[in-house]
Symmetry: C2
Subunit: 341 residues, 2 copies
Amino acid sequence: MTLKSVAKTLSVSTATISNAFSRPDQLSKSLREKILKECSTLGYHGPNITARSLRKGKSGVLGVLLSDPLSYYFNDPVANQFLSGIAETVEQHQKQLLMLSGADSGKTNTGIESLPDSFIVYGSQEHNPLYNRIIQTGKPIVTVDFDAPEFGSINVDNQAAAYEVASYALKKRSAPHAAILGLRLIHSERVCRITDDELYDESESVARRRLNGYKQAAEESNIALSSELIWHIPHNTFALAKRAAKELLSVTPRPNIILCMSDVIASAVLNVAAEMGVSVPAEIGVVGFDDIPEASRTSPPLTTICQKSKEKGKQAVLMLVKGDTSSKILMPTELIVRDSA
Amino acid sequence: MTLKSVAKTLSVSTATISNAFSRPDQLSKSLREKILKECSTLGYHGPNITARSLRKGKSGVLGVLLSDPLSYYFNDPVANQFLSGIAETVEQHQKQLLMLSGADSGKTNTGIESLPDSFIVYGSQEHNPLYNRIIQTGKPIVTVDFDAPEFGSINVDNQAAAYEVASYALKKRSAPHAAILGLRLIHSERVCRITDDELYDESESVARRRLNGYKQAAEESNIALSSELIWHIPHNTFALAKRAAKELLSVTPRPNIILCMSDVIASAVLNVAAEMGVSVPAEIGVVGFDDIPEASRTSPPLTTICQKSKEKGKQAVLMLVKGDTSSKILMPTELIVRDSA
DNA sequence: TTGAAAGCGCTAACAC
DNA sequence: GTGTTAGCGCTTTCAA
C-alpha cells in the first residue's frame, strides 16, 4: 500500500494524497477529509517515513549521542532525569527520540547518523568515532556537560558548585579531615586511589572541575588534600561506590568529611557507614552531588548540590527546536542542605 | 557526498562502492580495502541509511512500543531494567533502538512505524492507535507483559507469583489482617480505594492477575479481603505510593500485612511507616513485587518476588533476532525472602 | 569484477 | 485546486 497505489484507487493524483497528509492548505478541507477517511478505511496510514526522509532530507528524529553503552543510561539516576527531560520535550514537539550508543560505534558503521535531523551530545566523546561522523554531517549539534567551541552547549559550573558544597561541609566541622570519592577522575576501570601527579591533571572534565572546587575549598580552610585520600570510581554505580566507601571508611585515622562526586556514591557511603556502625552526621559528614530523587529519602537525607538534570535535557531540545546552535548556557546549581552534613 | 559522487571521484562504478560497504564477497579484498581507505579520506562514511532502508526495506532499527509517555520509562526501576536488557542485546546485534511513545501517537501520525524492522510491545496497548498501525505493517512483533494470540510473547505468571509472596506473608503472622496497595487496578488517575464490584473484574491485566493471586492466598488462609482495604495507585511512583501508604497506615484497626504490587510501592510504605513510628516487620509485614535493585537496600530490606526484568528484555530481542515470532515464553519468578515480612 | 539502469515511496516544482 | 514528473541515495539484477 503506497501513496501511488492509493492515489490510483481513489482516482486522484499522487500530489493530492501527499498534500492531504502533509500540506493541508493545498487542497479544500472537504476533499482532504474525504481522502483521509478513505485512506483510513483502505488501511493507508500516511507516507512512509523512509521515503519521505530521503526526499525531504529530514526525518523528525532527534538523536542523543551517549558516551557509554545504552544500558548504562537506563540505570543511572542522573541520566534518567536528563533523558526524561529530553523525552518529554521531544514528545511535545512531535519528534522521535533515537538514543545512539557510544559503544557500538567502534564496530560496523550502520550509517545511522544520517537519520536524525539534529543531535544532543551528552558527555565528552574523546574516543567515539560516531561523534566525528556526526560532526561531518554538518547537522545542528548541542553538547551537554562538555564544551566544543563550534557548538552550542549546556553546562553547569561544576567547580563553583563543588566549592560551595565542600565549603559548607568543611565549615561545619571544628577539625575537618576530608576525603574524596571521585567519579571518572582518571582513565581506569578499577576502583583505586589516584597518584600525586594525577592530582594536578589539567583536563577539563566534569570530574576535574569538581575536584578543583573541592581543592579550592580545602585550601581556604587550610586543609591538606593529598591523593591518598582521593578515590577514583570508574562508573556511577552503587556497587562500585560501595567498594570505594569500604576502603575509605577503613582508613585510620578515619576522615570525618566525605566529599562525593555523585549522590549515588554518597548513598553508598551512608549504606556502608550504617553497616560499619559509623554514625552520620555525628562521626562523619557526607555530601553528594546531583540531587537525585533518592537523595531526600536516604537516612539521613543527603546534603548535596542540585543540578537540574531534567531541565538540562529540556533546554537542549529547545535549543535545537528553536534553531539556536551557538548559545553557551550555564545552568544554575543550588546547595541543598539536609542532614548528612 | 553520495555514493555516486564518490564512485565518480574514484573512477569506479556505484555498484563497486556499494559492494565494498555492504557485500565484501563481491569484490577482491585488495580493491575493497583500497576503496574503503579512499572513502575514509574523502569523508564518505558509508551509505545513507534512509536511502538504503528505502531500497532494502530494512533499517536495522528495532522499535519498542511503550504504553505511556517516554519520560515515564526513564523513571521506573522495572522499566529501566527491562530497557537496559533490550539495549544491551540490541547493541550486541549491531542494531539501533527506537523508543516509541504511547503518548504522542494520538496526535499527528509521523509514519514512524515504517522505520523499524520489528517491534517489542511492552504492556497492554488498549487505546493506542500506534499499536494498530504497527500491526498493520505486518512486521514481526513480540509482546511483553501481555498477550495477543497472533504474536509471540514474554510473560511471567503474575498470579502464581503474587500467591506465593502473599502466602508467605500471611503464614508468618498468627492473626493476619491484610491490605493491598495495587498498581493500575482500575482506570483512574487518582489514588483511591476500589469498590466491591470492581474487586471481581475479570480482565487479564497484570494488576488483576496479581490481585487474583493475593485473593487466592487470602482464601486459603481464611482471611476476608474486602475492597475497603484495596488501594488503586495509577502510576508506579514513590510520591503516589506514599499518599496511598499514608491513607492505609491511618486505618483503624491497622492491618498488619501490606501486600504491594511493586517494590516502589513497598519502599514508600517503609518510608511512611518510619515517619509514623510503625516498626517493620514487628508491627506490620510488607512485601513487594519485582525485586528492583533498591529492594535490597531499604531498611528493612524487602521481601519480594524477583522477576528478571532485564532478562525479559534480552529474550524479547533474541526472539526477534532469531525470527521466532510465535513462542509464548513464561519466565520464572522467585520468592526473595528478606526482612520486611 | 564491473557498469548500466530500474526503481524503492515520496515531495515539490511546475504546468495546467 | 489538481496532475505530471524529476529525482532524493541507494541496491541489485543483468549483461558484459
